[in-house]
């Protein structure tokens, strides 16, 4: 147990050091933090940048697969990451969509207004397109997007980001007057839906390896709706002023990747199951003649499990502890002052209804990415069950016993500690148990903002279509929930029966 405690203290210390170095003035010994989005190609581009720098003697770390565009963009602006790969269309139509002339002004000019700069593009465009399984498209004689108009009953499933993006489904539907409704799902799962016939049409990235693998027909954008999405590396302008040598080195990647190149690299990862690190190392060795980086897997399953477990426990433990500190006294207050209680319960109830992913994203402008915003979000989610059960447990004590405690001459404080809290303890404990189980489940989403934990292998497993990897996160998460539930049940048996 004390060993575990030491590891926790170590983790906290490491976190503090990380924060400290991240905020300290940039000098040549500070590692460059490269970010990437939660899909194969972005992780590969991030890996290329990271390995290039390391090979040239610049310390660099890759915070891979952090989440969607907005998360990365916010993290870059805040300085949580220094560099990340983005696409020109995403910048114009999504991230900077509310800037005047976002679609026409030169990209450099648009970015400089935000304090961001871009390197010249990698050389390929990864555009959005709509795709269908070849036999199905053939059977319905569909070759162009406008052909979809004739088949209102087609089932369309698109990635969640595409579903809501200004340059995604809403615009496409309007431009073509499409009659269908689209449902949102994870991009990697959409392929399975298409192959298994649950979906007829999905959105594609034109560089996806799956297009040739699954023999998909890419529909012609006959009204030229989709813009170009040239891949490029973004960095913060003021950071670059301190690290001009880094920007100079990264420029070596500009123009190095054609559509054919990137499709092949994506295919190596997704279809041949090669790790992004190895694919990137091979490419850098062949194309830029860089000495191959040591990319042998440095950790084994046990070590990875230990790391994700301690990250998960740390997130859950700290957020639960903080929630207890606030929710227990608030629950007592709510029971004693019902008018205030209704207000408190209403507010915490409202927080509970914010979708967990949205809450995580809200945290980023305030707290950046990593463990801290995840803990804060989990803290909010744990409040309500504890608060509500504390209030209910105390209010549920029979009027007779409450009056007896008063009549004996016990002070309000003594009544609370000696009589009321012990009598409410089972109900309160049940609330803490509920909070803990919700917390463990929700904590897996922390991986989307770089907090690690069991969500990391789960997300990577979904991205790489690797069931083993998914289970590596899912099984321990379920076990942890069971263990926590079991521990609480043991404690519960030792508590007095409620009155």
């Amino acid at each position: 147990m004390s060993g575990l405690l030491f590891r926790f203290v170590g983790l906290i210390a490491a976190g503090l050091i990380f924060t400290a170095t991240a905020t300290a003035g940039k000098n040549s010994s500070t590692p460059v933090v490269v970010g990437s989005k939660n899909f194969t190609e972005s992780v590969l581009l991030g890996e290329l940048a990271t390995q290039l720098l390391i090979a040239r003697g610049i310390p660099a770390v890759h915070r891979e697969a952090l989440g969607g565009s907005r998360i990365l963009w916010n993290a870059l602006q805040r300085g949580d990451i220094d560099v990340y790969p983005e696409y020109s269309g995403t910048l114009r139509f999504e991230l900077l969509a509310n800037v005047v002339e976002a679609t026409t002004a030169p990209l450099d000019k648009l970015l400089s207004g935000e304090g961001i700069a871009a390197l010249p593009p990698f050389g390929f465009a990864n555009n959005y397109a709509m795709g269908m399984a070849e036999p199905r498209a053939e059977g319905l004689h569909i070759t162009r997007v406008s052909d979809l108009l004739r088949h209102a009953g087609l089932k369309i499933g698109v990635s969640n980001e595409f579903l809501h993006r200004a340059d995604g489904w809403p615009g496409l539907k309007a431009a073509y007057q499409l009659p269908q409704l689209a449902t949102g799902l994870d991009h990697d799962l959409a392929y399975r839906g298409l192959v298994e016939g649950d979906l007829d049409v999905i959105d594609l990235y034109t560089t996806d390896a799956e297009i040739s693998y699954y023999n998909l027909r890419v529909l012609v954008d006959d009204r030229s709706y989709f813009p170009d999405y040239h891949a490029l590396l973004l960095y913060r302008a003021n950071w670059a002023a301190d690290r001009p040598e880094v920007v100079g080195l990264l420029a070596a990647l500009s123009g190095q990747l054609s559509e054919v190149d990137i499709s092949r690299l994506n295919s190596l990862q997704k279809l041949d199951k090669q790790p992004a690190k190895e694919v990137a190392a091979q490419f850098l060795e062949n194309r830029l003649k860089l000495a191959p980086a040591d990319v042998r897997p440095q950790s084994n399953l046990r070590k990875e499990l230990w790391i994700t477990t301690s990250q998960q426990l740390f997130m859950v433990g700290v957020s639960m502890f903080a929630a207890l500190l606030l929710a227990l006294p608030l629950g007592v207050l709510a029971a004693k002052k019902p008018a205030i209680g209704r207000l408190i319960l209403g507010l915490t109830g409202a927080v509970q209804t914010i979708p967990s992913l949205a809450l995580l994203v809200f945290m980023i402008p305030l707290l950046g990415i990593g463990t801290l915003p995840a803990i804060v979000a989990l803290f909010f989610y744990s409040l309500l069950p504890i608060l509500r059960n504390t209030e209910a447990g105390l209010s549920g004590i029979s009027h007779e016993l409450q009056e007896t405690a008063v009549a004996l001459g016990l002070s309000a404080w003594a009544r609370l500690w000696q009589i009321e809290l012990p009598l409410a303890s089972r109900t309160i404990l049940a609330g803490i148990k509920t909070a803990a189980v919700i917390n463990i489940g929700t904590a897996t989403l922390g991986a989307l903002i770089g907090a690690g934990g069991y969500g990391q292998p789960i997300l990577a497993g979904i991205r790489l279509d690797d069931t083993g990897l998914i289970l590596q996160g899912a099984i321990p998460a379920v076990l942890m929930a069971f263990v926590v539930q079991g521990l609480f049940s043991m404690v519960e048996k030792k508590l007095p029966a409620s009155s």
């Binding site: 007779e400 016993l401 009549a407 001459g409 016990l410 009155s499």
Partner: protein, 243 residues
């Protein structure tokens, strides 16, 4: 000992007491009788400050009952209710000794007092180790009585203490309580709807109906000079009255 002076009190807009006056004499046992809703239990809860009168004054021990005296008065008062009100999370012993421990009694004092009380209430000492849920109804009431007496209070308030018990146990406990009252020489206020019990245990009877005193005095006064037909009815409702 206790005076109610011009008390006004009501629940949820419904006036129960209007200009209510009553004097409870020290060192004597007084029984408050009446049917449910007559206000007899409410009077006990007013004495303990569990309820606050809307107007008027309650005098306890010669001084008006004020908020700052409440805790002290409660600690010098033994209060026993129909269900006993034992805390289910504490052993019988911890229920009885809760206030003594909080008042800083030493373990020897506590043990000594427990032995006295166990003898007085005729409860086997080893039953005190049990949780209330493991005791019979009669045993629970004995423990609750021990708790009420633990700090040797000047005033004992008994709110229908035995009416939840079966008749055999009830009679036994009534006998014991009578002996105990005689022995302890305390001021006792008993709430009862049972004339026989009230007459057996108390020197002074007060009959209430809807917040008003119908008649008060010794039992013989009630029997010989009933003030109203209601008094006769109330007495007739009980059987086996003493001569």
């Amino acid at each position: 000992m206790i005076q109610f002076r011009s008390i006004e009190f009501g629940f949820a807009g419904q006036r129960l007491f209007k200009d209510f006056n009553l004097n409870i004499v020290a060192g004597r046992s007084t029984a408050l009788m009446g049917s449910s809703g007559s206000g007899k239990s409410t009077l006990l809860r007013l004495i303990l400050g569990l309820l606050t009168p809307d107007a008027g004054e309650i005098v306890v021990g010669g001084e008006p009952l004020t908020a700052d005296r409440l805790i002290d008065i409660r600690r010098r008062t033994g209060y026993l209710i129909q269900s006993g009100g034992l805390f289910p999370h504490l052993t019988a012993r911890d229920n009885v000794t809760l206030m003594a421990r909080r008042s800083g009694w030493n373990p020897r004092q506590i043990d000594q007092r427990l032995a006295e009380l166990a003898e007085l209430t005729r409860l086997k000492m080893d039953l005190l180790k049990r949780m209330p849920s493991a005791l019979s109804g009669g045993q629970r009431q004995r423990v609750a009585l021990m708790r009420a007496l633990m700090l040797d209070p000047d005033l004992l308030l008994l709110d229908e203490p035995f009416s939840a018990l079966d008749p055999l146990i009830r009679h036994e406990l009534q006998d014991e309580l009578k002996a105990l009252i005689g022995e302890l020489n305390k001021t006792v206020v008993l709430v009862s709807h049972d004339v026989a019990e009230a007459a057996w245990l108390a020197d002074h009877l007060v009959l209430l109906s809807e917040g008003e005193i119908i008649q008060q005095g010794a039992f013989s006064v009630f029997r010989d000079q009933p003030a109203t037909p209601f008094v006769e009815q109330f007495l007739a409702a009980s059987r086996g009255l003493p001569e």
